[in-house]
Amino acid sequence: MAETVSVEACTILQVEGWPETQAACESELSRQLGAALPADFGEAAAVGGWFAVRIAPRRFWLIADDGSKPNWSIDPALGCSVSLGEGRMRLKLRGPHTFDVLKACVAIDWDSPQARPGSALQTGFHHVPVLLLRTGAEACDIFAPRSFAQSLVDWLADIGVSRDIQDETISRPA
């Protein structure tokens, strides 16, 4: 199987609670989504059709495939939300050499429990801040700022050359 790198749009909603109302904000959002949000910074969990990542102590990213619309809202007294899906691209890597490729990109120990499938990790990739979502044993999604996406795809393609994955499918970011 050849490695593939594809680029897709996605929906990302950022939710943040105020310092004094964080617990209430989380509780209210959990109630509307029907499941508990990740408790600790860096944790990720599937929540009510969304993939929730606690991206900062008081901040969540709720990620879904492109086009998903939130059916929930945040009381401004508890917190706020902002859409980030237009500004991020989702680079999907698949194949047996996925993590060989990523070893040349990011300083993440893919064999550690913190990087098990389903985990989300924030790091720098070629000087660009990215969120990595390990979606499987041989698959990983990279959420990168849209303006950098093409550069990162070019980098991945270049790294892929020496790993015998020249036939990857690379689509340019829209």
Binding site: T21, E86, A104, D109, F148, I159
Partner: protein
């Protein structure tokens, strides 16, 4: 084989069925798979391989490892040319092209070997003493010739076609050194449950064990260990990989060489940053040479190296060998040489020798001289005879090989790199690593456990302890041991002083006389000795010279070895190619670039792109002119006379939300924002804590609790960081969230007298009339299902609108504007025209907000009025910032027909001497098609009045142009064009 005259008929860890061709100085030679370049050269009878750094003395292969000081070669041709590589570390590959270095016209006849004749004049410090005059700049003249005369190889100047990569790797336990201690440690750590990485600089694991005779117990043990480790999934065997640096946090820098890799398309070198939970140092030890007259002649080799060549590579470097030693261990070299058919003489400095050694020597027909040392060698391009001295007698022994051993120095380089000084152990007369930091362990010869049995045992223990440090404590089977019948190592310090040309540092041509000179001249600290004589400053970093040199200095000072100390060890342990450090970050991958959503349109439409920070922005469009000077003037005309369209997606954009959002903005902007009505925008200026202007931009109030801030392109990240910092430290009480949404929005500016008509046609569902959307007004809607925001702002001085749309619809919105705008004369314009338009209007930007200017300097003081309490307010009131002589923003018009003003020109008053910093400088300049003249913005001293004439002097262009000081607003000072 016939082409390898010095190859033994049998034995060795080489593949005799796989010959490899290579060339050395143009001669076609053959080696075998499993050879190093050094062993292949020796097998071919090549003993002269290089010339020394300073005296151009002939040099041969001295060692069999990374410590090699002599046999430096240049590998490859063209862009692949890589100089100064030790032949001992190059794995032979088919087609290798190798050249010797530092010789002309040839290795055997090197004209500069005449330097040797002038050796008495070329001692340490010669250059510093001699080339000091007649003027201070004279050195610059001499340096060129000195560098040509003394040196190493030359690097290639063409682009290197090979791949280099950088990787990140992780391990619970990293083991540096794949000898018996390292192998044993890896086995123990892996069995304890740890992920182990075993790092070995050689292409074979085993360390000194691969130099044991084939068929010995060592070979069996090695094979068993390698097989076991290869079968363990949690062991990463990293051969051909040198640990070159140790860094904080148990991070190791590793370089893997694959000199045959260019054929396979793989990386030729890979730099790996290995983060380990624990580290076991099993780096072994390096044999010390002996110092005597002419000890640098080709044919003089470390005793252990000779044993390696005989047993591992089946090469007999010489048929008549003298083994000069101070210890029992090197007698095994004598025995192996004799067994391979050489005629051997042993000269042991010790007067009393072990009977077992003498008995074995007698059995093998080896002549033994107890209490003897080599006083001198005879020979030029190769050793011919050794003069042995001892107990009042002298003997000359014919020989073509001299094996030397002055004991062993543990390889403490890596363990010392983080500042842990090595400590001296009297009983082994050597430095061992200082106290290990938590999570670091040592095993084998590096900690003074020289025998194989000790190495295996200490490696085993270190592996278990390192794994336990990482929380892995599974039961571990006992260490695999075997008997090698090695003699114990005992210190011997009575080495007689050398006379004549006795080299301590072979690579840097430092002799015992140089050390004595340094001592006489006061350079007695080892650090001073190093710098004065260049000792240890070669590519080998003095691996063989360090201990002999400090011993010599200790003797001269009458001090002990620990009192004398060692020099400081720093990364890298061995030289690292810059290409390996750069990896793939070369060419257009050197840094990432940012593309706006309209990037492809710009390229397709003939834009010349410009790098602005990381962003790619349209500089100008080829449709508008043949070059930038022609194009930007034309583009300015479009904007002033009809309409222009500019991609401003690069502006920083920040979403500011929360009940206290207005309060935050009031604190961070010098001008107030709390009373900004919903649906209105305001220009704002931020100050640094010291009162200097930080950045400017506009912020629009989208709702009672929500604002949309824009920053300059250059300061986007800085402003975002500053907001987060202030929220966390200065105003943690505020309920505000700030989020960078720069990539979220495509942004474009429609500017010009016909801009409103174009907007109305492009977005007919929105009311963009002057009443609904006045200057600094805001409307929002949708475009193509994406959010759309239009803010009426002007940077150019024309009626203008900033259109923000979801990034995915950016290109579509741009195309819509281009399409509907064409009948109105709309044309795209680039950053050069943008900059020129703002200069005409007198708007400040980066060249004026340069980290030195205040609000008053820039004419913005009135915006603040009597406000207080904002960031930077206190320190902006410092008296020095209010002095009337401070430079302030002015406009300049060029007074000389046919001349132009230049950015960066220094301003002088008429008649002033044109020296120094003048009265100010031109910050921005443009040709104004509206005014038909060059105009500029400048920062000019307050004592130069409006209407005065100044001279703008550009020193580097040798240019002096008269200009008049005027208002910085050249166009429409009442703002009539942008209102209405």
């Amino acid at each position: 084989m016939s082409s390898n005259p010095k190859r033994l008929a049998e034995g060795g860890r080489i593949d005799r069925g796989r010959p490899l061709e290579f060339s050395f100085d143009g001669s076609k030679l053959t080696g075998l798979q499993g050879d190093t370049l050094a062993s292949a050269l020796l097998a071919n009878g090549v003993s002269l391989v290089g010339r020394s750094f300073k005296y151009h003395r002939p040099r041969g292969i001295f060692s069999a490892g990374a410590e090699e000081p002599n046999a430096l070669v240049t590998l490859g041709t063209g862009g692949r040319r890589e100089p100064n590589l030790p032949a001992t570390m190059l794995e032979l590959a088919d087609g290798m092209v190798v050249e010797s270095q530092n010789r002309w016209p040839s290795l055997t006849f090197d004209v500069q070997s005449l330097n040797s004749l002038f050796a008495p004049f070329l001692s340490a410090g010669f250059y510093y003493k001699t080339f000091m005059g007649p003027t201070r700049r004279a050195w610059m003249f001499y340096e060129h010739f000195i560098r040509r005369a003394a040196g190493l190889g030359r690097a290639g100047v063409e682009p290197d076609p090979d791949r280099y990569e950088v990787h990140h790797a992780f391990a619970d336990v990293a083991i540096v050194g794949g000898g018996p201690a390292g192998l044993s440690a890896a086995r123990a750590a892996a069995n304890a449950g740890a992920r182990a990485a075993l790092i070995e600089q050689d292409f074979r694991f085993g360390g000194q064990l691969v130099s044991e005779r084939p068929g010995s117990a060592a070979g069996t043990w090695l094979e068993a260990l390698e097989t076991e480790l290869k079968g363990l999934r949690n062991v990463n065997l990293m051969a051909r990989t040198t640990a070159v640096g140790l860094y904080d946090g148990k991070v190791l820098g590793l370089v893997e060489r694959r000199d045959d890799a260019q054929v396979a398309g793989q990386a030729r070198q890979t730099f790996t940053i290995l983060r380990a939970g624990a580290i076991v140092f099993a780096t072994g030890a390096i044999e010390r040479p002996l110092v005597f007259s002419n000890n640098d002649r080709p044919g003089v080799m470390l005793a252990s190296a000779v044993r390696t060549y005989v047993n591992r590579f089946a090469v007999l470097p010489g048929r008549r060998a003298v083994v000069a030693t101070t210890n029992d261990g090197s007698w095994r070299t004598a025995f192996d040489l004799a067994a391979a058919g050489a005629q051997v003489t042993v000269a042991d400095l010790r007067a009393t020798l072990a009977p077992a050694l003498q008995a074995e020597a007698s059995r093998l027909g080896i002549a033994v001289h107890a209490g003897a040392h080599i006083a001198d060698l005879r020979g030029g391009h190769g050793v011919k005879a050794a003069r042995l001295a001892g107990a009042g007698t002298e003997t000359e022994v014919d020989c073509d090989l001299v094996c030397v051993s002055g004991g062993w120095s543990p390889t403490v380089h890596l363990t010392s790199q983080l500042g842990v000084k090595p400590v001296y152990r009297e009983e082994i007369d050597a430095f061992v690593p200082g106290p290990f930091a938590a999570g670091q362990f040592g095993a084998g010869a590096v900690v003074g456990d020289y025998t194989t049995a000790e190495a295996i045992e200490t490696g085993h223990r270190a592996g278990i302890e390192a794994a336990a440090y990482c929380g892995m404590t599974k039961p571990v089977p006992a260490a695999l041991q075997f008997e090698l019948a090695e003699p114990a190592v005992a210190a011997f310090r009575n080495i007689p002083p050398a006379r004549g040309k006795a080299f301590v540092d072979f690579q840097m041509d430092v002799t015992t006389d140089d050390i004595a000179l340094a001592h006489r001249e006061g350079y007695q600290s080892v650090e001073h000795l190093k710098r004065y004589t260049t000792l240890g400053m070669g590519t080998d970093q003095g691996k063989t010279s360090n201990f002999p040199a400090l011993s010599a200095m200790a003797a001269l000072r009458g001090a002990t070895i620990p009192e004398t100390g060692t020099t400081t060890f720093r990364p890298p342990y061995t030289p690292v190619a810059i290409g390996a450090l750069a990896g793939r970050a070369v060419g257009h991958h050197f840094k990432p670039t940012r593309r706006t959503p309209m990037h492809d349109w710009h390229i397709a439409s003939g834009a010349d792109m410009l790098e602005v920070g990381l962003w790619m922005r349209p500089y100008f469009y080829r449709d508008a002119g043949r070059d930038v000077n022609e194009a930007y003037v034309a583009e300015m005309r479009f904007v002033r006379e009809a309409a222009g369209l500019m991609d401003i997606s690069t502006l920083g954009k920040i979403d500011v939300q929360g009940p206290d959002a207005a309060t935050l903005l009031d604190r961070i902007y010098a001008n107030g924002f709390a009373k900004l009505p919903v649906g209105r925008a305001r220009y704002g200026v931020m100050l640094r804590d010291d009162g200097i202007v930080f950045d400017d931009g506009t912020t629009t109030r989208l709702g009672e609790q929500r604002f949309f801030m824009t920053t300059s392109t250059a300061k986007a990240a800085d402003v975002m960081s500053r907001l987060e910092f202030l929220l966390d430290t200065v105003c943690p009480d505020l309920r505000v969230a700030v989020t960078s949404v720069t990539d979220e929005w495509a942004a474009m500016s429609v500017a010009g007298p016909r801009s409103r008509e174009i907007l109305a046609a492009a977005f007919p569902e929105l009311d963009v009339s002057n009443e609904a959307l006045p200057h600094m007004g805001f409307v929002e809607g949708e475009f193509d299902g994406r959010a759309l925001r239009i803010i009426r702002l002007s940077y150019s001085g024309e009626r203008a609108y900033e259109v923000y749309v979801g990034a995915s619809a950016g290109e579509a919105a741009w195309r819509r504007l281009v399409e509907v705008g064409e009948p109105f004369g709309l044309r795209p314009y680039g950053v050069e025209a943008l900059g020129a338009l703002r200069v005409e209007k007198g708007h400040v930007a980066g060249p004026e907000i340069d980290g030195r200017t205040t609000l008053d300097d820039l004419g913005l003081g009135r915006m603040v009025g009597k406000r207080s309490g904002f960031v930077g307010d206190v320190l902006r009131r410092r008296p020095a910032l209010a002095e009337p002589s401070r430079q302030r923003l002015v406009g300049l018009t060029c007074l000389q027909a046919g001349e132009r003003l230049s950015g960066g020109a220094i301003l002088f008053k008429q008649g002033e001497i044109r020296q120094g910093h003048g009265r100010g400088r031109i910050t921005s300049v443009t040709y104004s098609p509206t005014l038909g003249a060059y105009v500029g913005l400048a920062l000019l001293a307050g004592d130069v009045a409006m209407g005065d004439d100044v001279v703008a002097v550009h020193m580097m262009k040798d240019e002096a142009v008269r200009a008049r000081v005027v208002s910085p607003v050249f166009l429409d000072p009442q703002g009539e064009r942008l209102h209405g």
